[in-house]
C-alpha cells in the first residue's frame, strides 16, 4: 500500500475525529455545567440526549410536525423534564453527601433508559436528515458534510454558552452560586433558581447533542451510552473545567476516530473507557482540572 494513501486516510480520520469531537465537547460541557453547579457527576446525561432525540423524532416523524416546530418543542420538553427532575429528585437530596446524589443520578439514568425503551422500543430508527450531507473537499481529503455541520453547530453552541456564562447577569449569578452558594444567597441570588437553570441548560445541551448524534448515526436506546463514553472526556479535561471539556472532547474525538479506523469498529466502543483508566493512572485531575484541596 502506497504510504501516501495511508497518510491521506489517517488525516481524514483525524479531521473527522476532530469534527466529531465537537459534539463530544458539547456533551462534556453539559456534564461540566452540572458538576460546577452542584458538585455532582450527572450519570443521567445520556438520558437527556435520548429524550431530546426521541421527542424530536416523535414530533417530526411520527406526528409530522415541521422541523422548525419539532425542534423547539423537543427542546422545551427536555427543559421541562430537567426542571422536574431538579425539583423532585435533586432538591430533596440537597445537603446529602455526594455519594447519595450520585446514586440518585444513576437511578435517574436507569429510569430514563427504561422509559425510553418501554415507550419507543429497542429498535433503530432512522432520523430525518437535518444536516446537509454534501461532502467537503479539502485538497485530497474528503470530509463528510454532516461531520462539518455538526461540528459548526456544536462550536456555535459552546461559544454562545461560554459567552453567556461570562457576561450575562444570569450567567454570572449561576457561576457565583456554583462556587459559593452561601455568599451568593447573602448577595441576593436565588440559588434554587440558578440550580434549576443549571439543570435546564444541561438538559438542553444534552438534547441538542442527542438530536445531532442521532441524526448522524441512528436513533436507538444505545444513544445513552455515548454520554458514558464522554466521561473519558471530562476526566481528561478535568471535571470542573469548561476549557478542558472542549479541548479534551477534540482530543478524544481524534483518538476514537483513529483507533476505529485502524483497529476496527468494535474497538471504538472500548476506547473511551480505556482512555479513562489511562488518564486516571497518569493525571487524575485532568489537563485543566483543579486539584481538590479539602478544608479542614
Amino acid at each position: 500500500m502506497a504510504p501516501g494513501l495511508d497518510l491521506i486516510f489517517l488525516l481524514e480520520l483525524a479531521i473527522i475525529g476532530l469534527l466529531a469531537g465537537g459534539l463530544l465537547s458539547l456533551i462534556a460541557l453539559g456534564f461540566v455545567l452540572i458538576y460546577k453547579g452542584t458538585g455532582v457527576v450527572n450519570f443521567a446525561m445520556g438520558e437527556f440526549m435520548m429524550l431530546g432525540a426521541y421527542f424530536f423524532y416523535t414530533a417530526n416523524v411520527m406526528w409530522g410536525w415541521p422541523v422548525m416546530l419539532a425542534l423547539p418543542a423537543a427542546l422545551a420538553a427536555v427543559g421541562v423534564a430537567a426542571a422536574v427532575v431538579e425539583r423532585s429528585v435533586l432538591r430533596p437530596l440537597a445537603g446529602q453527601p455526594v455519594i447519595s446524589i450520585l446514586m440518585a443520578t444513576i437511578g435517574l439514568a436507569s429510569v430514563g433508559h427504561g422509559l425510553v425503551e418501554a415507550v419507543w422500543g429497542g429498535e433503530n430508527y432512522e432520523m430525518p436528515q437535518l444536516l446537509p450531507r454534501k461532502p467537503f473537499l479539502i485538497g485530497e481529503l474528503l470530509i463528510p458534510g454532516q461531520a462539518v455541520w455538526s461540528f459548526l453547530l456544536a462550536a456555535t453552541l459552546i461559544a454562545a454558552l461560554t459567552l453567556y456564562f461570562r457576561f450575562s447577569r444570569t450567567g454570572i449569578a449561576m457561576r457565583a452560586a456554583a462556587s459559593d452558594p452561601i455568599t451568593a444567597v447573602a448577595l441576593g441570588i436565588d440559588v434554587r433558581h440558578t440550580q434549576r437553570l443549571t439543570w435546564i441548560f444541561a438538559g438542553l445541551v444534552g438534547a441538542v447533542a442527542g438530536i445531532v448524534a442521532a441524526a448522524t448515526t441512528s436513533l436507538s436506546p444505545a444513544l445513552g451510552g455515548v454520554a458514558l463514553g464522554v466521561l473519558a472526556v471530562i476526566i481528561l479535561g478535568g471535571l470542573d473545567s469548561i476549557a478542558g471539556a472542549i479541548v479534551a472532547g477534540l482530543i478524544v474525538g481524534v483518538i476514537s476516530s483513529l483507533t476505529a479506523g485502524t483497529l476496527g469498529g468494535k474497538v471504538r466502543d472500548i476506547v473511551p473507557y480505556v482512555a479513562v483508566l489511562a488518564i486516571l493512572l497518569i493525571r487524575p485531575y485532568g489537563l485543566f482540572g483543579t486539584r481538590q484541596i479539602e478544608r479542614l
Binding site: V89, V98, I99, L102, I106, I270, L280, P284
Partner: protein, 346 residues
C-alpha cells in the same frame, strides 16, 4: 419487651448475639434454612439459591460502598470475572472448593488493580473508573473466545465433592446457603475489629481517619478487594448454579441492581444486604407475575418487562434515597424497638 438484659463481661457485650432470645432466634432461622428444601417446591428452592447468590454479592458491595463509601459501578463485571475463572478451572477438573476461593481471589486481585490508581483521589473518580472497568470487562468477556467462550458463553461442569455431585438445585442450595451464612458472619466480624471501624471512619470523615493513623489508601484497597472477593464468589456460584453462563448476564444493569439492593436494604450493614437482596429478588418476580397478568389483555406486554424493571430499579433507588435513606434496615430497627419497649412507646 426486653427485660433482664444484663451484660456481665465485655466479651458478652461484644458478642454478635448477646442475649439468649437472640441466639434462639438465630438457631431457629438456621434450622428453617436447613429444612427448607424438604418443604418447598423446586421453584422456591431455585429462587432461594438465586437469593443466596444475591445476598453474597450485595454483602460485598455493602462492605465496599455502604461501609467505606467507595462507589462501584463494576460489581457485575467482577462477578463475571469470578464466574469465568471458576468455569475455566472447573473445566480442567479443579474441584469446587478450590475454584470458588480462586474465583474470589481473582476478582479481588482485579479489584486491587483497578483500585490502585483510582483510590488515591476522590470517590467520584472511582465511580467513573469502575464504570469504565465494567464496560471493558464485558467487552473482554465477549471477545476473549478462548477463555470465556465469547458471546456463546461457557459451560460449567457440576461441582462435586469427592464424587458426590451437586447436580440439582437442592444440593446447590446447601452449598450456597452455607457460604452465604459464613460470609455474612465474616462480614459482620469485620466491624467488630479495627478493620471495619477504619472502613466506616473513611466513609464518614477520612481526614479524621488519617489523623488517627489510618492509612487511607491501604484500607480503601482492602475494602475494595474484600468486596470484589465476595462478588467473585457470588459469580462462581452463579456459574455452578446455572451450569452455563454468557456475558450478557454481567452487564451494567446488574451492577445497578446491586446498588439498588444495598440502598433499599440499608447502606453499611450485613442485615441491610440481606433485606435488600430479598426485596430485590422479589421485585422481578412480582413484576413478572404482574406483566403476565396484564398480558391477558395486552399480549405484547412481556416485551416491556426488561425496561419496566429498569424503571422500577431506578425509582427504588431514588425513592429510598429521598424518603428512607437508611433503608429497610431502619424500618426493621424501628419494629424491634417497638417490641423491646412495649408496653411503652418508642
Amino acid at each position: 419487651m426486653r427485660i433482664g438484659d444484663f451484660r456481665e463481661t465485655y466479651a458478652q457485650d461484644e458478642a454478635l448475639w448477646p442475649t439468649v432470645t437472640q441466639r434462639a432466634w438465630m438457631l431457629a432461622l438456621l434450622a428453617a434454612l436447613a429444612v427448607l428444601p424438604f418443604f418447598a417446591s423446586g421453584y422456591v428452592v431455585g429462587l432461594a439459591c438465586i437469593l443466596g447468590i444475591h445476598v453474597i454479592a450485595a454483602a460485598g458491595l455493602n462492605i465496599m460502598t455502604g461501609c467505606t463509601g467507595l462507589i462501584s459501578l463494576g460489581h457485575a463485571g467482577f462477578m463475571g470475572v469470578g464466574c469465568y475463572t471458576a468455569a475455566w478451572l472447573a473445566q480442567r477438573g479443579v474441584p469446587f472448593y478450590v475454584t470458588i476461593p480462586a474465583a474470589g481471589a481473582m476478582a479481588a486481585l482485579l479489584g486491587a488493580l483497578v483500585g490502585t490508581p483510582s483510590l488515591r483521589i476522590k470517590g467520584l473518580y472511582l465511580a467513573v473508573a469502575t464504570l469504565a472497568t465494567q464496560f471493558i470487562l464485558v467487552y473482554v468477556f465477549r471477545e476473549w473466545d478462548s477463555v470465556t467462550g465469547g458471546v456463546r458463553g461457557v459451560n460449567v461442569p457440576n461441582a462435586s465433592l469427592f464424587g458426590f455431585e451437586l447436580d440439582d438445585d437442592h444440593r446447590m442450595y446447601y452449598l450456597i446457603a452455607a457460604l452465604a451464612v459464613l460470609m455474612l458472619i465474616a462480614g459482620r466480624n469485620l466491624f467488630r475489629t479495627r478493620v471495619g471501624r477504619a472502613f466506616i471512619a473513611i466513609r464518614d470523615k477520612d481526614i479524621s481517619a488519617e489523623v488517627l493513623g489510618i492509612d487511607l489508601f491501604r484500607y480503601k484497597l482492602y475494602a475494595f478487594a474484600i468486596g470484589s472477593f465476595y462478588a467473585g464468589v457470588a459469580g462462581a456460584l452463579l456459574g455452578y448454579f446455572y451450569r452455563a453462563m454468557t456475558p450478557e448476564y454481567f452487564t451494567l444493569q446488574l451492577s445497578i441492581f446491586y446498588l439498588a439492593a444495598i440502598i433499599v436494604g440499608g447502606l453499611g450493614t450485613m442485615l441491610g444486604a440481606v433485606l435488600g437482596a430479598v426485596f430485590m429478588t422479589l421485585v422481578p418476580e412480582v413484576l413478572r407475575a404482574l406483566v403476565s397478568f396484564i398480558a391477558q389483555w395486552a399480549p405484547n406486554a412481556t416485551v416491556v418487562l426488561s425496561p419496566v424493571q429498569q424503571i422500577v430499579f431506578g425509582l427504588l433507588i431514588i425513592g429510598f434515597l429521598i424518603y428512607e435513606p437508611h433503608g429497610l434496615r431502619e424500618l426493621w430497627q424501628r419494629m424491634r424497638r417497638l417490641f423491646h419497649l412495649w408496653p411503652f412507646r418508642a
